[in-house]
Every structure is written in C-alpha cells, then in structure tokens.
Subunit: 121 residues, 2 copies
C-alpha cells in the first residue's frame, strides 16, 4: 500500500575490490562525472543486489543480539545489508579518475555490486 | 539494458519541515527503529519524488555554469536533485523519538517527501 514502483538505474558496477577499489561507470552516464576529480572524497550509493530478495528486505531487526543488555537492534539503527531497501552508502577517497574508471579507497561493497549514484562529499 | 526494476519501499514520509523537522515512519516499519535513540546523528535517505520524471532523471550536467572557468559540472559531482536516481542523502541530528515520529534537525527535504531508509551515522 505504501510501496511505489521505481526504476533504479544502474550507472555502473564495482569492478574490483581491493585496497584501491575500481568502479566502472557505464558509457551513457560518463558525462555526469564531469569535474568529479575536484573532490578528494565522494559518496557512493550502491544496490546490495545479493540482499534484494523477500527475506533480506523483510528483516526489521538484526539477527545478532545487541551488545547492550536488552534485546536486538532495529535495522534502521544499523548499517545491516538486510533492510527494506538494500541501498548501501559509503564515503570513499577518490584516488584518480581514468576515463570510465574511478579508483577509490575505503569501499565496502562486493565485486559486481551495481552502483546507483555518486555525490560530492 | 543496464536498468533493473527495483521496487522502492516507502518506509515513511516527511510530515513537517522546520527548524526541527518531523518524519513519520509507517506502522509496518516501526520495529526497525528499535534503539535508534542511541544515536545523536542519523542518515536519512529520501526519494525526491518531484524529480522522478524523465526530464529530471536524464540530466547529467548541471544547468548552472560552474564557478570555475570551463564548462559545467556533472551531476555526480554535485548534490543536484536532477540525477539518474533521485535519491537524497542527509545526515541529521536526532532530537527525539516519539512513537512513529522522529524529530530531526537539518533535514533538507520537502514536506511530503517519501523516506526510503534510515541508518546510524
């Protein structure tokens, strides 16, 4: 009832995860990178596709007990990948841009993860 | 070709925008707030529904000239609401939680904007 159908556009993909990770932006979105090299840090939004299933998206409580006395933690009080909308957000250090590839430090996503947005940070 | 169809779940709505703004979370997602009051700052992801149209979502360059000599800025180097996926991200100060309502400081969204995620910040 409260849902809308929204089409998430994949603008790129995590090509490699390492100390320096590599993000590849698809050709049709390359223009949007203009001047991004002005920033030392950028925010990356990614679609945690491995959790895009009814089980992962219906979890509202973490499965591990909280570290304080009573009960569990709600997913909105965490960065758990299990959440109604499996969107990950990370601020990374932008090391360099080479054409369609961004080289970044500090990305906590898996190889193959779709990228859905980048923002100056 | 690079698009996927993903259903964005609306977990709440911006009820009021002011010095202290009010976010209302829908009853079916309330459990996910458990322990959120432990945090002074939270990250809010919202769906900029007013820009969810082909015009807004096809912009890759800002419409205002950049403040440096040459050209314009790509949307991924900005926080422009015009971008392939109209998702806004803001870190706000969590003032209090009263049942289904979060009272927050620093929210830059319009009244009526759908909320799609909250994370500890």
């Amino acid at each position: 009832m409260n849902d809308i159908e929204a089409k998430i556009k994949l603008i790129g993909v995590v090509e490699k995860v390492n100390d320096i990770s590599v993000i590849k932006i698809y050709p049709e979105y390359l223009e949007g990178l203009t001047a991004i090299e002005d920033y030392k840090k950028i925010m990356i939004l990614f679609w945690m596709h491995l959790q895009d299933n009814p089980q992962g998206r219906s979890k509202l409580m973490t499965s591990r007990p909280r570290k304080r006395k009573y009960g569990y933690r709600g997913v909105f009080a965490t960065h758990s990948p299990h959440r109604p909308n499996p969107i990950g957000v990370t601020v990374v250090e932008l090391m360099k841009v080479e054409g369609e590839r961004l080289f970044v430090k500090g990305l906590d996503a898996y190889q193959g993860t779709p990228i859905i947005d980048l923002k100056s940070a």
